[in-house]
Structure formats: C-alpha cells, structure tokens
Symmetry: C2
DNA sequence: ACTAAGTTCGAACGAACGTTCGAATCACTT
DNA sequence: AAGTGATTCGAACGTTCGTTCGAACTTAGT
C-alpha cells in the first residue's frame, strides 16, 4: 500500500529522495495504518467503525492518526483508490499480448478472483462501501470503476463480434460482476476452493452461458 | 407489511378481533413506519441512518417511534424478516405443481427479480445490511436465508440428476445469488428492462452455463 | 359526559462520535 | 550537545447518537 504520499496536514513532510528505494518512513507507517483500518472496516463497516476503533487496531493514539490523514472519509478513499488502482493495473499487465477474446475474459475473471481472495478485506471494503464516499472522493473512485467496467465491456464486445453472438453486453457484464463480487458474502477459505479453481468454474458458467445458443441473425 | 403484531412496550396493546379484516390501527401505523424506514435505510445505510432521520421521514416524533418498536435494531429486523418471509412464501406458491427442474429454476429467478424490482428498497436493505443484526435477530433472519438457499440447492440438484450434469452446486447457487442480488448496485428503471426480461436473460446465462458441456461420467 | 386505554410528544439523559490543539517526545544532522 | 523538524499523544471541543420519561392528547366504549 501507500500511494506516492500526499501532504498530510498543514506543513507537509518533504519527500526527499525522488526515485530510489521506494517508501519513506511516513509512507510505510501510513500503509500499516491503512492495512489495520481495512480490517476494521471489513468487520464493522465504514459507518460502524469509529476512529477509536481504528486507533486501537493500529496501536496509535486517536490524535496521532490525524497526522497521516485529514479525515475518516479520506482514509476510506485511500483504501479504495489503492485497491482499485492495483487490480486494474495488474489486469492490464496480464492482458498484454493476449488477443483471443475468450482467453482474455478468463484472465479478467482470474485476475479479479485472485486479488479478491488474496485481499479479502480490501475487496470487501471496495465492494460493500461503494456508496460511503461523497463528492470528490466518490467521483475519483467512480472514474476507476468506470474504466474497469469499460474494459470488461470491451472484452465482451470483442467476443460477440468474433463469434457472432447476440446478447445484452450490459446485463452480461453486470451479472459477471455480481457473481464475482458477491463472493465476499460467502467465501470461506477453509471450505471453498482456491482462486484458480473458482475462477475456472465461474468462467465456465459465464462463458458457456453467454456463448451457447443465440447466434446473431447476420 | 406488518407481521401479526408483537407487544411494543411495557403494556402491550391487546389485539382484539382475532381473525377478521386483518390489520389493527397499531399494525397499520407500524407498517407505514417500516416503509419509510426502509427508504431511509436504503439511502443512508443502517448505521448511517439516525433515529432522527427516521422520525423526520415518517412524520412522527422521535419518542413516538419507540411506541412501535423497542430499538433501531429491532426495526431493521422487522424489515428484513418481513421481506424475506414474503419472498420465500411467494416462491413456494409459484413452485407448487411445477415439476420440471429447468422450469422451476426459471421460476425461482423470476420470483426473485420481480420482487427485487418491485421492492428495491426492501431488497437492498435485505442484501446490503445482512451483517448489521446481532445475536437473536441475526440468527432468525439467517434461518430464513438458509431455507431459501436450500430450496435453490434442491432445485439445482434435481436438475443435475435429471440431466446427468456435473458441477459444484454450491458455487452455482452462490454465483446465481450474486448475479441476482448485485442488481441493487446498478439497476436503473429508466434504462434497464423489466423483471420478466431481466429474469429471462439471467436465466439464459445461468442455465446454459450450467447445462452445457460437462456431463457426468456415469 | 365520563372513563380508560391507546397514542403522541417535548425535553432531557449519558454515551459516543469525528476532529482539534498545544505540548511532549523522537530521530537526525551538525 | 544542541538544535530542528517529524512524529505522537492526553485532553478536550462541540455535536450527534439511541433511548427514556412523564405529561398530554386522542379514540372508542358506555
């Protein structure tokens, strides 16, 4: 975690060392806090979690937290933005060089579920607290979400074209997101399969569902 | 709305007229409050909504609300229980006399989506606030959820048997629930199709997905 | 018209909320 | 060892929270 570090309070700690070795002390500590906060938000929800809960979980005083971010809302924003940015970035890397639409969609699903099961708290907070942010914070996350959505629409439209299929891309994409995101309500790592197998099963259901029957008329 | 009316405060108003004409004044007023509260919970979330918000929305004083229910948590419980009970009850009525597994599953999906789109606030509160209740309240709603889940598992197992299919029932059912319940995050009545058409498209994706390929080995 | 139960409300309770502030402590450089 | 900026914290701020209480009002049976 830890985006390139933005000013925290009135006097921003200067970021010396522009390139090398990655994180400053400030960024590392912020990332720790974000990790603990994510776990608390997962357990109690954004509204249900108090700053005192976050203080306890991260082992830092209530006032101390405000040295790292200026409000509870901005903290949620940092979590959501980092999570969403990372998943999109990994997806792009994985899609590079792949051209078959079906394979691309399988990669999309695998990427999503792998990240989901590797970071269940972050992904629950991203999925379940989607309406908690307001105004500027909300629209910045919404922009990433729209990009992610559009990528998936693109892949499905490619598939339709390549195979001459006919179905509503919108319904298909949103159904797929539903299948994938709902996982946070039921997945149990002691019972359920790992990401690869889960992605395989969901990909099978979805792709067969969308590719069987209903060829386009022309 | 309005379950058979349980005692509200210290001295329970007596329910005269055991059978006829349905609702007492108490029950009718409670149902009105529940409707307004559902809308507020939908908009602000359970934790985010204050009793003062509910008071404003229902046009009743803050103190007045407590004549009808003893806590905010019980209010959410009443909403979730009524919603879930109703949807299960309607499903059972619709499944009666139908024996073909595929048709039954299509009915299951149609019933779910029709209720979802006809009562979007109730269904969002049911889906999104599933973890908000504690202890006794939580387990009573969980029991209904389990029954609903088991019905769907039964239908899918019937389908598997009838067609000699092979897939994980658990993953299939939970994927289906994901597709259906995720709707509250995206459905826009000015853009999207009605319940019947939506149910048709989702049923097609899901049933083809689950019925195509992968016949069992024996 | 009287009564008794059903219904509503203003005002207040203590607790918990997010946030702020100035002082104390820490980690470095010199 | 002194000095400087980065980091941490106890204590408090004003606000809002869920809930309670007793008094008032309304409704309906007689």
């Amino acid at each position: 975690m830890g985006s390139p570090s933005t000013a925290a309070r009135v006097s921003a700690p200067r970021r010396h060392r522009a390139v090398p070795a990655a994180a400053t002390r400030f960024d590392r500590r912020l990332a720790e806090i974000l990790t603990h906060a994510t776990e608390v938000f997962r357990k109690k929800g954004y509204e249900g979690a108090s700053m005192r809960d976050l203080s306890r979980a991260s082992g830092m005083s209530l006032a101390g937290l405000y040295y790292y971010f200026e409000s509870k809302e901005r903290l949620l924003f940092l979590i959501q933005k980092h999570t969403f940015t990372t998943i999109v970035q990994r997806l792009k890397a994985r899609l590079e060089g792949v051209s078959d639409p079906e394979t691309q969609i399988r990669i999309f699903i695998l990427n999503h579920l792998e990240y989901f099961l590797a970071n269940p708290a972050s992904m629950k907070v991203l999925s379940h607290e989607a309406e908690a942010l307001k105004n500027g914070f909300a629209s910045e996350v919404a922009a990433i979400k729209r990009e992610y959505y559009r990528i998936c629409v693109g892949l499905l439209d490619d598939l339709k074209r390549a195979r001459g299929l006919q179905f509503s891309t919108r319904i298909a994409v949103l159904s797929l997101f539903g299948m994938m995101n709902w996982i946070y309500t039921w997945h149990n790592s002691r019972v359920d399969a790992d990401a690869e197998q889960l992605a395989g099963e969901m990909s099978d259901i979805f792709l067969r569902g969308v590719m069987t029957g209903a060829k386009g008329r022309r």
